[in-house]
């Protein structure tokens, strides 16, 4: 067993027009995505507009329990397999009402709501938030790095929007890596993990419910306010806990379930399942992120091996909220077998099972050892001296700041300054974001420095198909017509509809597989021809010689 597996992160950013709180969120998100896409195109020296997203392969109504929800029964927000409800023209038209300058500053044909980045990620307008979906990676460390790269993308977008605001007259937009506005609304930070299709989904769900209800003791981002509207004063571990109502289900925007059943593998369906995790908080802390991806991957390994502990909770949703609402970490939750355990104790049982399984398997690889040791170290510290984790975990760092304000200024939990500290912790700008101020002041440990993160914002991971996707987009930006997770379409002179390259295996088309082939191709046509020769099953075109 190992922490290594194909995984990825998806972050929806909170979006705010400075000085115009009633601006249309879809318009602002479109402004962010369009501006960043234009920035990338300029850097690449591209002349045409960005590649479109190919919605072929999106199956948001397929349920992992073995059925498909009829479209007419789905909530409209579940239909993520079609282009956004608003067309680019409608967005632009709406914006026109808000800003008379939009028409002059924005070429309607250039409005981008969905784009593939040179690092293999997807940046798009998801309902009313900009979302960065990281490239596929193979380790928890890389998941943290390419998720942090998304924050760098968000920062570059914010700066580019600000730089052009004076000349365009458009709103200055800021982005926040958090999950709620404390006014009943939540937006997600999803993870996904590749699991063999042979693992029965009900076994995954059984093992994950108690794990997801308790991992927030390490991975929570911290929140001021209890209840969806923050209506009760106080502090809790998690941004997301109060927005979950069910144990298992397909929805992501309403009646949110702890275990999501969306069966959208974005890969060879017969072999792979892509577990879509919607319960997590958006983490800024690298340590919290490493624990989130690392421990979840280990628990999936336990399920695959049939070695997951049996910790069925009497009421997982109630347990999720009870654990989140007690930052003293002493609250216990009832199990179906009569035991009463704290969140830390639940986590320890998963850790012990993972350790035992590792030892039986001949010892962990270095990345697995790192996660196992950190997991134990953090659980110990949470039990004995939680505040000592203020330099490593988001919720503790945030709590320590809030505690400082409460002590110095005698603030009650419902004082707006404490909610401001909560919000501004997640501000993506290094000069304003409190997480970033803590890092700059040496008060928060990191796993990657700013240069490494900036590099990951422009470079794909080498060991997944994201390498091929990212390099195709950056080397031949004018030739990629559409792209998605498991295919790209390339324009070829004289070939109607060009060529479609299938990428059904996430661990295929890596730098090792196709690096020389991509590196030596002078243009897209040569690349497609070379690939068609080497890997004919992947290249589909009617009339390529």
């Amino acid at each position: 067993m190992t922490v290594r597996r194909v995984m990825g992160a998806e972050t929806e950013y909170g979006v705010l027009a400075t000085g115009n709180p009633h601006a249309n969120a879809t318009v602002l998100s479109t402004q962010v995505v369009t501006t960043y896409a234009a920035l990338v195109r300029r850097r690449l020296g591209a002349s045409r507009s960005a590649a479109d997203w190919d919605y072929h392969g999106e199956t948001p109504l397929e349920d992992a329990r073995g059925f498909t929800v009829p479209r007419e029964q789905a909530d409209p927000t579940q239909l993520t397999d079609v282009a956004p409800v608003l067309t680019a023209e409608e967005v632009a038209a709406e914006a026109l009402r808000e800003s008379g300058l939009w028409a002059e500053s924005m070429d309607w044909a250039q409005v981008v709501m969905n784009t593939v980045l040179p690092n293999g990620a997807r940046l798009y307008v998801d309902h009313s938030h900009p979302e960065y979906s990281s490239p596929e990676v193979t380790t928890p460390r890389d998941a943290v790095l390419w998720d942090a790269a998304g924050d760098r993308v968000a920062l570059d977008a914010v700066r580019a929007v600000a730089a052009s605001a004076a000349s365009t007259g458009l709103d200055v937009v800021n982005l926040y890596k958090n999950n709620t506005d404390n006014k009943s609304v939540s937006y997600g930070a999803h993870e996904n993990y590749l699991v063999p299709r042979t693992v029965p989904f009900d076994r995954l769900a059984t093992a994950l419910l108690p794990f997801f209800a308790s991992r927030q003791v390490m991975c929570g981002a911290g929140r001021v306010g209890l209840g969806p509207r923050g209506q009760r004063p106080g502090f809790q571990l998690s941004q997301r806990a109060d927005f979950f109502e069910r144990e298992i289900g397909l929805e992501t925007t309403v009646h949110r379930p702890i275990v999501n059943t969306r069966d959208e593998p974005h890969a060879e369906r017969g072999r792979h399942r892509r577990l879509h995790v919607i319960i997590g908080d958006a983490n800024l802390s690298h340590t919290a992120g490493l624990l989130k991806f690392g421990t979840t991957s280990l628990v999936l390994g336990l399920v695959e091996a049939g070695a997951a502990p049996d910790l069925g909770l009497a009421d997982p949703v109630a347990a999720l909220q009870a654990i989140s609402h007690d930052p003293s970490l002493r609250t216990t939750v009832p199990l179906r077998d009569g035991r009463e355990l704290t969140g830390i104790q639940l986590q320890r049982l998963y850790l012990e099972a993972a350790r035992a399984h590792e030892e039986a398997g001949g010892g962990p690889d270095p990345q697995t050892r790192e996660v196992l040791e950190l997991w134990g170290e953090v659980l110990d510290a949470l039990e004995t001296d939680p505040l000592s984790l203020a330099d490593r975990l988001d919720w503790v760092a945030k709590y320590a700041l809030l505690r400082g304000y409460r002590e110095r200024d005698g603030l009650a939990w419902d004082d707006p300054r404490l909610t401001l500290v909560d919000l501004q912790y997640a501000d993506v700008r290094p000069e304003k974001g409190l997480y970033h101020r803590l890092v700059a002041g040496g008060r928060m440990r990191t796993l990657f420095d700013a240069e490494e993160i900036e590099r990951a914002a422009g470079t794909p991971p080498a060991d997944t198909r994201a390498w091929f996707r990212g390099h195709l987009v950056s080397r031949f930006p004018d030739d990629v017509l559409t792209a998605n997770w498991d295919s790209v379409s390339v324009a070829l002179p004289g070939v109607r509809r060009g060529a479609r390259i299938a990428m059904p295996e996430p661990l295929d088309l890596t730098r090792d597989d196709v690096g020389p082939l991509v590196g030596s191709a002078p243009d897209a046509e040569h690349l497609v021809r070379a690939l068609a020769g080497a890997r004919p099953a992947l290249v589909h075109t009617g009339s390529l010689g």
Partner: protein, 69 residues
């Protein structure tokens, strides 16, 4: 009060009585460490004061999002 007990002695507020009572007081190590770092904690707050948005109430009220996934 659960929060105050584990993280030191902040201002006591009525609403905190709604929080679950922990079984035992926090280890004194946490509080001792918190006290020894008070000086740098003040420096930190002074720095944060300088970057916080100026009108907290207005900013918090204006932070309105639409639903997401």
């Amino acid at each position: 009060m659960a929060q105050e007990r584990i993280f030191g002695t902040g201002a006591q507020r009525r609403e905190e009585t709604e929080l679950p009572e922990p079984g035992a007081p926090a280890p004194s190590a946490a509080q001792a460490q918190a006290r020894t770092s008070t000086g740098s904690a003040d420096d930190l707050l002074a720095e944060i004061d300088g970057v916080l948005e100026s009108n907290a109430e207005e900013f918090v009220k204006g932070f309105v999002q639409k639903g997401g996934q």
